[in-house]
Symmetry: C2
Subunit: 428 residues, 2 copies
């Protein structure tokens, strides 16, 4: 409604026209007050979280299909300029939607697809959100791309900044595993080790974001733009299904942003007439060792009490999830649910996904497959409904989770007789 707009909603001085495409303003998710498109992330009225609002033109399937094979094919639906594909980014997205017949049979589902985001440039869905945050940073004249992280986000920020030719700073706990440090430091990011845990790192990041000029902490001060990147998962799923919506989805939940943005993406496609309107039931998946939203869901509450994470699913280990209340709203409104599985089940389901579909997901993938099985057993997921699950990251980054659970079937000397002796017994 234009009536509620006031002069604040003009973009900051120096930002070019069309910098944010068809986005028109930021709106508070709590009180609805509008703010201008800028480096803002908290409502000026009530300090609530901000979300990007749009005035979409007509967008056609053909127009999208003629676009680049990356998230930029959906540029008209994102807070990015129309010429976004001419800037250097990692061009993430348009990952495989795998028709997962083997896993479907194993789980007892009629039709299942795995949206495999391990195919992104740094092998997690974070490349999507970082690419949109990078565009916002560029358009706002911010010249340092930064984040607090323990893994996927750090990889994505460091790689995107390298490709864009801008400076990046990644803050990590100093006790982070050496291999995770290498996988970000290789991009020549300014990696700063902080003597403390992830909460300490996060707090310091917010302080720097508040004090320093010109910094874009992707998940702090440009978070409203960043979060919009997850909508592309919804767009791709619909397009890859032949411009149809599935019946039900199971989505891993950390902050909860991905789940709420997939719901938002589907709504936008319906409003734009790009897909037929139909109910889509949305389910969330957490690890038992960090399941604050599940606890709120089961207690019938609207607010989420923070927990101290203790799970091998590190990429989902956010004890105080920013989008918790919105996740509760989406799963309740769509007839879904949010559920959890323990770490042993996570490992078993990483292996199940690999064994059935040849997809080696990270721990979050194990959480999602495990919760899918639980939802079927509990009668919550319809076995005849067309189902999509998200694999948000890559098993190569969480090898420790499965070490000790898999290995050689035998060790033999390099002689044919040794082989045949083993093989006869093995296949008997």
């Amino acid at each position: 409604m234009t009536a509620v707009l006031d002069t604040q909603v003009l973009p900051p001085v120096g930002v070019r026209a069309g910098a944010f495409g068809n986005a028109t303003h930021l709106a508070c998710r709590a009180c609805g007050a509008q703010s201008p498109l800028g480096p803002f992330y908290a409502c000026m009225e009530c300090f609530g979280p901000l979300e990007v609002g749009y005035d979409f033109p007509r967008v056609t399937r053909a127009q999208i299909e003629a676009g680049p094979k990356s998230i930029w094919r959906y540029a008209p639906l994102l807070p990015v300029p129309a010429d976004i594909a001419t800037f250097r980014s990692t061009d993430p997205g348009f990952t495989r939607l795998v028709d997962a017949g083997n896993l479907a049979a194993d789980l007892g589902l009629r039709k299942l697809h795995v949206k495999d985001d391990s195919g992104n440039p740094t092998h997690s869905f974070k490349d999507r959100v970082v690419a949109v945050a990078l565009s916002a940073a560029r358009e706002l004249g911010l010249n340092v791309l930064a984040c607090p992280s323990t893994g996927n986000l750090a990889n994505a920020v460091a790689a995107a900044a390298a490709r864009a030719g801008i400076r990046s700073v990644v803050l990590v706990p100093s006790n982070l595993e050496q291999q995770k440090i290498i996988a970000s430091a290789v991009y020549d990011t300014t990696l700063i080790a902080i003597e403390g845990n992830y909460d300490d790192v996060n707090k310091l990041a917010s302080e720097i974001a508040g004090e320093e000029e010109g910094w874009a902490f992707v998940n702090v001060n440009v978070r409203p733009y960043y979060a919009e990147g997850s909508k592309t998962l919804a767009y791709e799923i619909a397009e890859q299904l032949g411009w149809r919506l599935p019946d039900q989805l199971v989505i891993p939940v950390a902050s909860g942003s991905q789940l709420t943005k997939i719901d938002k993406g589907f709504s936008e496609l319906i409003k734009l007439g790009l897909v037929e309107d139909k109910p889509v039931r949305i389910f969330g998946a957490q690890a038992t060792g960090c399941s604050p939203i599940v606890q709120a869901y089961e207690a019938g509450q609207d607010v989420v009490a923070p927990v101290r994470p203790n799970t091998i699913a590190k990429s989902l280990a956010i004890g105080n999830p920013a989008d918790g209340p919105y996740v509760l709203d989406v799963v309740r409104r769509t007839g879904g649910r949010i559920a959890d599985v323990d770490d042993e089940t996570v490992v078993r389901n990483i292996l199940r996904l690999a064994r059935t579909e040849g997809i080696f997901g990270e721990t979050a993938g194990g959480v999602t497959v495990g919760v899918t099985a639980k939802l079927i057993a509990d009668g919550d997921l319809d076995p005849d409904g067309e189902t999509v699950i998200i694999n948000s990251g890559d098993g190569l980054k969480t090898l420790d989770a499965v070490a000790g659970h898999v290995g050689p079937k035998t060790t033999i000397p390099p002689r044919y007789e040794a082989f045949t002796d083993f093989w006869k017994g093995y296949t008997a």
Copy 2:
């Protein structure tokens, strides 16, 4: 020439019509004698290596562009059935061709693209060749997919077999790093550790391939089909350039098969009228610690003397490269060259690719970028020519190579003043 066909060239009994698409026979690369399409890999006349021959129909750009976003869009040009996309495979290929402006500037090239095959399902180009081998195995009624390997190939075979629902067996040296064992074993392959080095493993694989019925060792008895998968790199590069050929390519060389098949792929596109005929100079890249083809090239010889590999670029460490003579032929015929760089240069160039383009390649990528720089310095590569280099695998699989070379810029307590103290000095 139909005249040289004899009755042997009929396919084996039980193989369905069209099992190998437009492929018509196997031809010896040494003496030219023809063999039927079957599980054959050595010429019955002279024991030379066999290659797939075709009788292509008319194939159009539009037909290809309407196909799946995987190597199967090129099905009419591969030894696979027309309905290949209906079978379960990992659907590899159609990876990014990155317009690498930053790296181009750093190297002093006018126009450079990186074909980034780390985007494949198991993050190396091996997914391409294994997918074609899997099709051949299925059509020939072979029911075990197998390989000797120390890394990428094992991942690709185990994942492809899992997805296809057939048994796989992977033979590895028993002293292989635990993380490489995990990354294959996770797919529930029958991983057999062999007490010996890679040569011992390879020898045992050949013995099993010769003795056991029903086994498809992808790089042994179905090698002619397997090798054809690399042609898809050429097809994709041409299509992604807008149906044009580049002026020059730099390609990593292990067995040499990829390089020779890219050359073959370009020739086919020209013959089919899908691209304009023009000279393409092809360059090969090896690590100094395993550079038998470079040694032959520099000595002006046509045969390649085996070496004992000693390099961190394990995925290129084949001391007795099967396609050595054919690589020499291609680089000489096209006005290219094959060159090598030492391990220290490999590490520096892994970091160069990551720093400039946000692409974390494995050691083979470092070899290729390093050799590219060397070829420019030596005046062999034209700085004004449009250049493509291949990144064949993923840095997450060779973290050890860069460990000790990158890390945090500092370690500080979680306080804002500690940060500003560091930052002032760092940016001064």
